[in-house]
Symmetry: C2
Subunit: 240 residues, 2 copies
């Protein structure tokens, strides 16, 4: 701990990249399942292109251009664009529905389930993700993630890094932001949370973007915690 | 099972009365803790009076008279009224804040934790309560309730038995109402849920209202399940 703060009551987590390996999971299921079902594409490039449309699609909501819609809806519309771009515009609708739910099946990094289980013994643990409630619940059921509560974009009706996403999640717990801590692998997320009063824990995920990626390797500021993994964070917070 | 329906994907629960013994818990904490802290009242009568303001306070929101506020806020305003009525209008504000959170500490019926844990192995389990998210999360942490997801009034922005409370909870799970089942000890709740397309499970809680109470002893209609307890429901649903 680099600053003197009271320990938080709730530890909330960014999910895509911090809890789960979205890129590795999409590539693996793509190559093992979807290639045989007719989607014979460069899966690393396909995963990157799909994820590449993530921020622009949410920006339309953050900017007020369109009203709030859940991330499953944005993912589907982005998938349709990427399929077009990869020359498979005739991919059947029923297959698109199932492929879009790949985000509900993403795999956690190896330290996650043990780390969350230990943190849960002393803290409220929850998601503070842009993923919608159904996505987060299905992912938790598929992968054994022991959340106490699903918060984030759908509860707050706004996408990170808009301040409302963080403030609405703290308000749902009836906690001041200072008693909430965001855990994330992304400095921009931690900075936006801190600007609303949250504490922060930086956890490095060096492989999130693959071999040529440029992950955040160090925290950009003196967030309260810096950890190598969720189990390391549990150690630092005294959770057996 | 009295009808031929596909099994639900999510089993959602009414909480006050069905999962927790609100009346017994308030009386017990009242007599053990609050009597010594200056609230020397007839605790069974106090519990009944406080709960008696529950439906009228929510009706102001269901009718559109006022906008949505979380149940903690209604409970506090109802508490202030009841204290006045019981002649203890000078009870300190800080004590009222803590007493109001008694709803976050209510005790489950004896079969609940085992029953929910078994049901969780095969189904999404969640709250479909009028209690707000903070209340439900704190109760779960205090009492070991293993919810997958907190739904209900605050997520749907409307109180049961308004149809929106049920429909908004199913929508958050991206499930049709027919794949959701409400479990409740109250026929009125089960009927309102069924009217939106939910399946239903009636679980009798004969002691909810105390020795002079008039609980629902039998289901008012042919809901899909009728069980003596959550463990009985888990048996009927094949959850070991």
């Amino acid at each position: 701990m680099t600053q003197q703060s009271e320990l938080p009551k709730a530890i909330l987590f960014d999910v895509f990249g911090t809890v789960v390996d979205w890129r590795g999971s999409i590539i693996e299921e793509g190559e093992q399942v979807w290639r045989q079902r007719g989607l014979d594409v460069d899966w690393p490039a396909f995963a990157d292109a799909w994820r590449g449309l993530y921020q622009p699609s949410m920006e339309r909501i953050r900017s007020g251009e369109i009203g709030f819609v859940p991330l499953d809806v944005l993912h589907r519309s982005n998938l349709d664009q990427v399929l077009e771009q990869f020359g498979v515009a005739d991919f059947p609708d029923a297959e698109r529905v199932e492929l879009n739910r790949i985000w509900h099946r993403l795999k956690p990094w190896p330290d996650v389930v043990e780390g969350l289980t230990r943190l849960k013994s002393k803290f409220i643990i929850g998601t503070l993700s842009n993923g919608n409630i159904a996505l987060m619940v299905n992912m938790a059921k598929n992968r054994g993630l022991p959340w106490d509560v699903i918060l984030g974009a759908e509860v707050s009706r706004q996408y990170k890094p808009h301040p409302q996403a963080y403030l609405g999640s703290a308000r749902a717990l009836d906690l001041p932001p200072s008693q909430c801590m965001l855990t994330a692998a992304h400095n921009s997320d931690l900075e936006a949370a801190r600007d609303t009063g949250y504490q922060g824990a930086f956890v490095c995920r060096p492989n999130e973007y693959g071999p040529d990626g440029q992950p955040d390797l160090e925290p950009s500021d003196s967030f309260e915690f810096k950890a190598k993994s969720f189990t390391d964070l549990a150690d630092q917070l005294g959770c057996d």
